[in-house]
């Protein structure tokens, strides 16, 4: 009896063409119903939610459908005295949302509506003795925050304010036996963290410190028989890893180690043809009954914590794992997060209907060109 391969099965009826217009409609309408349950519960990450929505719209050439003025005013109201920016009004500032805000303002070429110097001070102030970055004044350390810090400063043209040697030293101290990176020194490799660390090393010009062959192997082993990518060994595939794994591979020059056609099929299968948007996995709207007269209905409300720790999404998922009962999906729910990463992943795979996306910043390349940022990638 061997270990079962955790994976999904893509049904033949799953979507296999890109439904860009539907996705644009979905995002444009998202958040307009402010009394939506999931929307309200995700207020604690609103700034990132806006960044996801705007970025995917821009990648689809539909940014103009979003309410620029309202968003800019919103961002202004979220900058605190310390310089940091919060996810929403009344929430506390944090590096995660400071980065999202700066990314949004970069998209809109309106960076000066906030106090940039104070943002820089805020970021600088979060660097610790050992070079790491805390997420906020409460001291949680994570390589995600190292990435947020340098990405923010790079977009503002102020990378020189931090102690670069130490910052790099800390991130490298999080490199593991498999070539990957974790949250902190000693933490297990995880695709989300690997994205943050390779992105960090790209921005700081230290990509040559990565063992690209070893890490590239670990990353290409994320691809499962369904074509989808997981975030670490023995986990289910998820469309957001199509971004984090793929972007990391692109950064280290090994994107050709993925089976692109299979991944594309997987991503497309994650679309919802009715509502638009992408879910984390391929879905099926109808519950089918099994021919053995037994209806198993195990409803598990799984709180899906996305690797960047930014969202809890309610996913109604019914899983029957086992030798005889394949995975059965009932309704799955789309969200802007997975929509962005599905579309961005397709862009990295070369889909010409989508604007080229920068693998380090997850922003349209033309925005970064305008700013003058071209972070290194390995060959």
């Amino acid at each position: 009896m061997g270990t079962q391969v955790k994976d999904v099965v893509i049904k033949p009826e799953a979507p296999n063409t890109l439904l860009l217009d539907k996705h644009a409609d979905y995002i444009a309408a998202y958040g307009s119903k402010k009394d939506d349950y999931e929307y309200t519960l995700s207020e604690y990450l609103r700034m990132s939610g806006i960044y996801w929505g705007l970025t995917v719209m821009d990648l689809m050439g539909q940014l103009s459908r979003m309410n620029r003025e309202e968003i800019i005013e919103f961002i202004k109201s979220c900058q605190h005295d310390c310089g940091g920016i919060s996810a929403s009004t009344g929430h506390d500032p944090h590096l995660l949302y400071t980065l999202s805000a700066v990314q949004i303002l970069s998209l809109y070429d309106s960076i000066n509506v906030i106090d940039v110097d104070k943002v820089v001070d805020y970021v600088k102030g979060l660097q610790q003795e050992d070079g790491s970055f805390a997420g906020d004044k409460w001291g949680e350390i994570d390589t995600r925050f190292s990435f947020c810090a340098v990405a923010t400063l790079a977009l503002l043209g102020k990378l020189d304010v931090i102690n670069m040697d130490k910052a790099v030293g800390f991130v490298l101290s999080c490199m593991n036996f498999d070539g990957g990176f974790g949250c902190r020194p000693g933490s297990e490799s995880h695709a989300g963290q690997i994205y943050c660390c390779t992105g960090f090393l790209s921005i700081t010009g230290q990509l040559h410190k990565v063992n690209a062959d070893l890490l590239g192997w670990w990353l290409c082993e994320r691809q499962l028989p369904s074509g989808g990518l997981n975030g670490r060994p023995e986990k289910l595939p998820d469309v957001c890893y199509s971004w984090w794994v793929l972007a990391s591979l692109k950064i280290i020059g090994r994107i050709h180690w993925i089976d692109k056609a299979k991944l594309r099929s997987f991503i497309l299968a994650c679309q919802d043809e009715e509502t638009g948007g992408f879910a984390d996995r391929p879905g099926d709207m109808v519950s089918s009954l099994w021919n053995c007269h037994i209806q198993f209905c195990i409803c598990i409300y799984i709180l899906h914590v996305i690797s960047l720790g930014l969202a809890i999404l309610y996913t109604e998922l019914i899983i029957l794992c086992g030798t005889f009962l394949p995975v059965l999906y009932i309704s799955i729910q789309v969200d802007p997060f997975h929509t962005l990463f599905g579309v961005a992943g397709l862009s990295l795979l070369g889909d010409e209907q989508i604007k080229p996306v920068n693998p380090v910043f997850c922003m349209p390349e033309d925005v970064l060109q305008r700013i003058g940022l071209q972070p290194d990638l390995l060959n």
């Binding site: 036996f177 949250c183 995880h190 709180l303 809890i312």
Partner: protein
């Protein structure tokens, strides 16, 4: 009939769901508004704890609420005696544990627990370790819990041996244990820091070996094993030194780009020191005249101070010295251990001929033992690998190319003409160019190369390049080769950029003193942009 659940009609189900959500939403919004109002009023009291408790139990990622809670707790600390503070935070730990039961993967929860332990007058690390044990028994892959465990272990001084035993137990339970193997990889070097290349404690292979023999599809053990195999390999910093007394030239090729220099590193030649200021370059040309005063010297030593490494060179009659890093020799002991491992893996392969992990591991073992002797077998295994694991064929092709290049370097002879020839070998990538500094002739024809990468510029002695019948698009690698005389690039896919056209024009116009033969033009497939 047991287990039958009534599935209501879709419309009815939808309406009920909608009403339920509306109710929940109302409750959430009113609680949230109450809390935020209280906070802006600066109230740090029990009621604040109650309200945030309510919300955080089902919304543990609402980070601002944890912050508020901490502010309240810090304030209450100032009002209470030490033993009350102890109780206060212990009750907080109970609350966090309840939250963790609902959502064991909330960053906010785990961080708050870490924070609470910094405030507790008397933290109970045994209890915390127990919590980790329980949590990991429910989900062995919960990295939040593993990270927290590392905090607890560090704070309470649990020994490395004890933790290794813990991983043994978990690995022994034979189920989704990558996290345990990972933990081992951090613990082992604490007990046995960087082993010498010839050391062979064979017990270190045993655990992973047993794991993948018990379950050949348990990928974690194979990943770990690959690490063990590579662990004792030492990567040389200096790949190659080329000295030409006549040409007054000293070139040093490094295996990796030099660090972005915030400090200065030094390269010593003999006793003369040369400071290196370059960032990110892999090839250092020393200024002409660096060795002019050494006409009577026959030995040359290059020291690189960053890694305290050096290379010794003997200047021969030709006044050209070439030295490259060789492979470290395996001790008899290590060799026999690896041989036994190879044998076992081959036995496993007989039982599981389609097991890609086994195939790849056999390749790696053969390379460790005798790369040249096993070359044919290695190529056959790579072919099988591409068949059983087609999604990763490009990876296997690149890896195979790398090994072929390594073998060719091993077989190279050093004379006045130094030839590197790898034609018709399905090469998909080029690497180790730092070790080809002194090569004069290269034949890469009939392969699947897409480019001559910028690192091709390392081939400073290259006189003749044959690379017909590839898919090369880009000539960038050729721009900085001072000795290049002959190039053949028939049947490629060269995209002529402005720069490449200029390069070719200069060659033909005789700006470069060498004569450049370019027989490829009429036969090439090219696109002009």
């Amino acid at each position: 009939m047991h287990g039958r659940v009534k599935i209501k009609s879709t419309a009815q189900q939808e309406e009920e769901k909608r009403k339920e959500k509306e109710k929940k939403l109302k409750a959430f919004v009113s609680a949230r508004d109450a809390v935020l109002k209280k906070r802006s009023a600066g109230e740090h009291d029990e009621e604040a704890l109650q309200l945030t408790r309510q919300l955080l139990s089902s919304n543990p990622d609402f980070a601002t609420l944890w912050n508020y809670r901490r502010e309240v707790l810090l304030h209450l600390e100032t009002l209470r005696e030490k033993d009350e503070v102890q109780k206060l935070y212990e009750s907080e730990l109970h609350f966090i544990e309840a939250c963790l039961k609902v959502n064991p993967k909330s960053y906010g929860c785990w961080h708050h627990r870490t924070w609470v332990n910094t405030r507790l007058p008397q933290p109970d690390w045994t209890r915390e370790l127990g919590l980790c044990d329980r949590c990991l028994s429910l989900d062995e892959r919960n990295f939040h819990c593993w990270d927290y465990r590392r905090v607890v272990v560090k704070a309470s001084g649990v020994s490395v041996e004890q933790e290794l035993q813990f991983t043994d137990r978990l690995i022994g339970s034979n189920f989704s244990n990558y996290s345990s193997w990972h933990y081992r990889s951090t613990l082992l070097p604490q007990l046995h820091p960087q082993p010498a290349p010839d050391s062979a404690p064979n017990t270190k292979y045993e655990l992973s070996h047993n794991a993948f023999f018990t379950d050949p599809n348990d990928q974690s053990a194979w990943f770990y094993y690959r690490w063990l195999l590579g662990r004792a390999e030492r990567e040389e910093m200096i790949s190659c030194v080329y000295v030409s007394r006549e040409g007054e030239r000293v070139s040093v090729a490094f295996s990796k780009p030099l660090c972005k220099v915030y400090n200065m590193y030094s390269l010593f030649i003999h006793t003369l020191m040369h400071k290196i200021f370059n960032c990110l370059c892999q090839l250092c040309d020393l200024p002409p005249g660096s060795i002019s005063d050494m006409s009577n010297e026959h030995n040359l030593t290059i020291h690189w101070t960053e890694k305290h490494t050096h290379r010794d060179c003997n200047l021969d009659d030709l006044h050209v010295c070439v030295c490259i890093c060789g492979r470290s020799e395996l001790s008899v002991e290590k060799s026999s251990v690896l041989q036994a491992e190879l044998q076992s893996c081959n036995q496993l392969l007989e039982l599981e001929p389609q097991n890609k992990w086994c195939l790849l591991t056999i390749i790696l073992l053969m390379r460790a033992l005798d790369p040249l002797g096993h070359e044919k077998e290695t190529l056959a295994h790579f072919q099988t690998l591409k068949e059983v694991d087609p999604m990763r064929s490009t990876y296997y092709s690149d890896l195979c190319s790398k090994f072929l290049i390594e073998n060719t370097i091993l077989k190279m002879e050093y004379a006045e003409v130094r030839v590197f020839s790898l034609s018709n070998k399905n090469l998909t990538t080029l690497c180790h160019l730092d070790q080809l500094l002194f090569v004069t002739h290269i034949n890469l024809s009939s392969n699947q190369l897409l480019r001559l990468p910028p690192h091709f510029a390392m081939l400073q002695c290259l006189e003749v390049l044959e690379a017909d019948d590839n898919a090369i698009e880009n000539l960038e690698g050729l721009y900085h080769l001072p000795k290049l005389e002959e190039v053949s690039l028939r049947n490629n896919r060269i995209l002529f950029s402005k720069k490449s056209k200029c390069f070719i024009r200069n060659c033909f116009s005789g700006v470069k003193s060498q004569c450049l033969v370019w027989p490829c033009f009429k036969d090439s497939v090219f696109f002009i942009n």
